[in-house]
Every structure is written in structure tokens, then in C-alpha cells.
Point group: C2
């Protein structure tokens, strides 16, 4: 029997920056009783253009920080980390870790009718080949086409969510996927759901868009239930336990502004910590 | 009298990534006898969207690394570092430091006829107000208009040097500067000289573009002469002293590719070091 004290511990959620907030938002929706400690590595963002070694080193530091916060489970809310560092992170901890790649890939396998699945992601995620490998292992007849879209993250971060430039750049990245007739597209970077409507318009109605955030939150829910780790009641105001805490490695103000445009729940403050001390 | 051994030491040049190579290129042109040790912080690039504290912390580590390489002078080939951290860096070392902001500002003061000077730069550089402060101190009647252009760096890094999207984005950033009738524009980020022709086309013939890289190399030359630190002869092949050495904190292959598209001198290799150990 798991003690209530453990069940009341927060979920650690992390990303290279703000993108993982789309995953945090889904966890808030689907698991309203759960406390969250979010960390965004805003001093070293982006990860998607960096090497596996560097991504692994940075994310190990973050996991160590989250453990100091007494988290009961960790959600890797970053595709690049899920793709490049998950195995290494799992070696370091004995609490459950949920990533964003496997849930998204599973959903895509269930959704495709013609077996042609597209993946858009960062260079690091595409370079790792992980979506393709996971999908092929579970659905050997599937065809997987991956496309790195390095400019989409800066366009989203600059707020060009509905803009002809974003249409043009997304159109260039997606053209090859349209040509080969995919019917399912995985939004393999946590920034992309923010421009979901642009991507949907370009791909057309015949293509199902998979947002791994939704499936990740669902997988987390199942995992917590299975292990008897779910929180039984929502921490109330004034109980001394904050529902959501946000930490960053730089520029808390900018993070707060972005967070408040993503989350329905307004965040009060984000605290800057020195992540390379962990 | 300065010993020849000291004169033969390399110049340390650093940037958050590849942009500073446009400054290194100018030093190679104007000071062909000088050896260079270049460091690009590719693990933590970009700096321009980060805070003064983080930029200062990162650049102090780099200066410590360059000192282990026995450099006789340091060139801060990054506007964001020059803008946010120069004073702090100067406290730490007793060798000459040349930045990119002051030389560029000086040239702009000399170049303007109508006293209206524009500056395009990163958010960090614009936020610091340094160009404006320096120009006003030296030319109190000048009007300085600064514009942060956060998307230009990723567009340059993605190789969209001649592309309608870069034209469109640059056009948006520059529109306000055209409206107020500047006659001189400082390219206040080391990536921008790479798209100089796009910027020149948008601004028109009546606007002088100032590339601080050229003036920085000239200032370095004067400083070395003044202090009797210039190298008297070009190190030859086979003397055991490499002319140019390149270090990065991540992804050496990608850096080499970019470097070889910028420099006329082909770089043989870049070595990855762990910068946060310094």
C-alpha cells in the first residue's frame, strides 16, 4: 500500500523551454488533482538543434533537480529529450518516467488507415530515428516519413501563430509529406500544437493530426492508477501546497508571459534556478 | 619590451555560436600574421534572447577557457556579450579586450550625415541600450533607433540567405527605420553581415550599412601595435603552431560546415570542449 504522502507528491514535467507547457496543460486538464513542478531550460534552449550527448547531459541535470523537489513521477515533455536521452534517464531514477514519443507513435499507429505516417520534429528528434523505429517495431508494414522543421520553433516563439510567413515555411516543410500521401501526421515537437490550425489547413481534412500531449497525459494517468500513485483529492488553496510550480534557468518574465498565453490557469511566478549546479 | 613569445600568442575570439566567424574572417584578412583561437558556444546558442545574468555567466566561462589557451588579447565577437557583459569581463582579465559594439558605434557616428542612426540587433543587445548610450555620449545630437530582429538569426542559420521569407521578415523589422529616415544602419549582430545584400536592398542606396566586424579588426590591429603585441611574422606550416584553432561546446560537424561556408580558409576541424567546467 502506497502512503498518501507519496501520492500527494507532485509530477515533475520538463522541457527545453516553453513548448512542454502544451503537455503540462493536458495534464492539468486530465489530472486535475495532480500537483505539477515544471522546469523549462530557458538558459540553454533550444535542444532540437543540439547533439545527443549535450541533450543527455542537460536533461540528466534537470532530472536531478526535479528529484530535489520530491516528484513521484517525471514527464519528459520534450520530443528531443524523449528521442535522445530517455534510456539514459531511466537508468538514473527509480520513479516512473513518461515520455512523449511512445504515446504519440502508438496513437498514430491506431489512427492510420493507409499505413503512411508522417512525423514533423526537430533535427535532433528526426536524426534519432526514434519515431520510425518505434512505429516499425509495432507495425512492420507502416511507412514512416520524417521531416525536420527547424524554423517552426522560432516562428512559434515569436508569436507568428497565424501569419503568412509561418504558412509559407510550414508549406515548404510539409510539401514532401503531402506528395507521398500520408494520412496521419505526428506533431513531434511540443511547440507544434500551437500552430495546429495552420498545419491542419495545409495538410487538408484527409490527414489526422496527432498531438502527443493528449496521449502523454492519458498514459501518465493510467500509469499512476496502475501503481496506486494518483492523488485522491485536489490540494486546496491555503493548504500550503501549491498546485503548480514553475522553474526556469533564465528569463522568468518572458517565460511567464508565454505561459500565460498558453495555459488557461494564469501562472503567478516562475523562479530562476542555476541548473548546471545539479 | 614585450618578448617575442608573448607576441606569438594567439588572439582569442568568441561568440555564442557561428556568427562571430564573420569577425574572425575580418581579423584573418586584416591581421594575417595573427594566430586565432575561436570558441563558439554551440551548446547554449543563442544568447540574444537570454538575460544579462546568463550571458555574463556563460561569457565568463569562455574567457576562462581562452586564458587556458594562452591568448594575448580577446575579441568579443558577439554583440549580445559586448552589450551585456563587457564590464564584468574586463574586471576578470589583465589582457586587452576588444568588443564589437564600440567600433561599430564609432563608425556609424562618422558615417551619418543627418544624425539619424538605426541599429538592428538581438533582444539582449537592444534591451541593454548600449548602442544608443554610446552614440549619444559621443554625439549628443544624434538620434538612435534600435530594433530587435529575433528571427533573422534562425533564418541565417537555416541558410535562407537569399529567400523571399527572409526578405519579408527583414522588411517588417526595417519598415520603422525606413519611416524615420535613418541614413546609417548598424548591423548589430554578427549574423547580419551574411544577409547584408538583402538588408541593403530593402534600405536602399541612401543608407550606409555599418558592419562592426571590419572596424573591430581594425581596432584590434591598432591596439596590438600600440601595445607592441603584434606578431611579426606569419607562423609557417610545420612549425608546430597552428594558425587557426576552433573550439565549440557542441556539434562540431555542423559548426565546421557552417564555418566552411563563411571562411575562405577551409577549417580542418573543430574540437568539442565542456565549457561549463571553466
Amino acid at each position: 500500500m502506497i502512503k498518501e504522502e507519496v501520492c500527494n507528491r507532485p509530477i515533475g514535467v520538463f522541457d527545453s523551454g516553453v513548448g512542454g507547457l502544451t503537455v503540462a496543460r493536458e495534464i492539468m486538464r486530465q489530472l486535475p488533482n495532480e500537483r505539477i513542478v515544471y522546469f523549462g531550460d530557458t538558459a540553454r534552449v533550444p535542444y532540437g538543434s543540439k547533439s545527443q550527448e549535450t541533450i543527455t547531459k542537460f536533461s540528466k541535470q534537470i532530472v536531478r533537480f526535479l528529484q530535489t523537489q520530491g516528484v513521484k513521477a517525471i514527464v519528459v515533455a520534450c520530443n528531443s529529450v524523449s528521442a535522445c536521452a530517455l534510456d539514459e534517464l531511466e537508468k538514473d531514477v527509480d520513479i516512473p518516467i513518461v515520455d512523449v514519443v511512445r504515446p504519440g507513435a502508438k496513437t498514430a499507429i491506431g489512427a492510420t488507415k493507409n499505413g503512411r505516417i508522417g512525423v514533423i520534429a526537430t533535427e535532433a528528434t528526426v536524426g534519432s530515428g526514434i519515431y520510425s523505429r518505434y512505429i516499425k517495431n509495432n507495425s512492420p508494414d507502416a511507412t514512416v516519413l520524417s521531416k525536420a522543421c527547424p524554423l517552426l520553433v522560432p516562428l512559434v516563439e515569436e508569436g507568428l501563430w497565424e501569419d503568412p510567413v509561418t504558412d509559407e515555411i510550414a508549406g515548404r516543410y510539409l510539401a514532401g509529406l503531402i506528395d507521398v500521401g500520408i494520412d496521419t501526421l505526428i506533431l513531434g515537437c511540443t511547440h507544434y500544437p500551437i500552430i495546429r490550425s495552420t498545419i491542419g489547413r495545409i495538410m487538408g481534412d484527409g490527414v489526422a493530426l496527432v498531438n502527443p500531449a493528449y496521449e502523454t497525459a492519458r498514459e501518465l494517468k493510467e500509469l499512476l492508477q496502475e501503481k496506486g500513485l494518483e492523488s485522491r483529492h485536489r490540494p486546496g488553496l491555503g493548504t500550503g501546497t501549491e498546485l503548480y510550480k514553475f522553474f526556469v534557468s533564465d528569463a522568468a518574465d518572458k517565460f511567464q508571459m508565454f505561459a500565460n498565453s498558453i495555459l488557461t490557469y494564469g501562472i503567478l511566478s516562475a523562479k530562476v534556478i542555476n541548473i548546471d549546479e545539479y
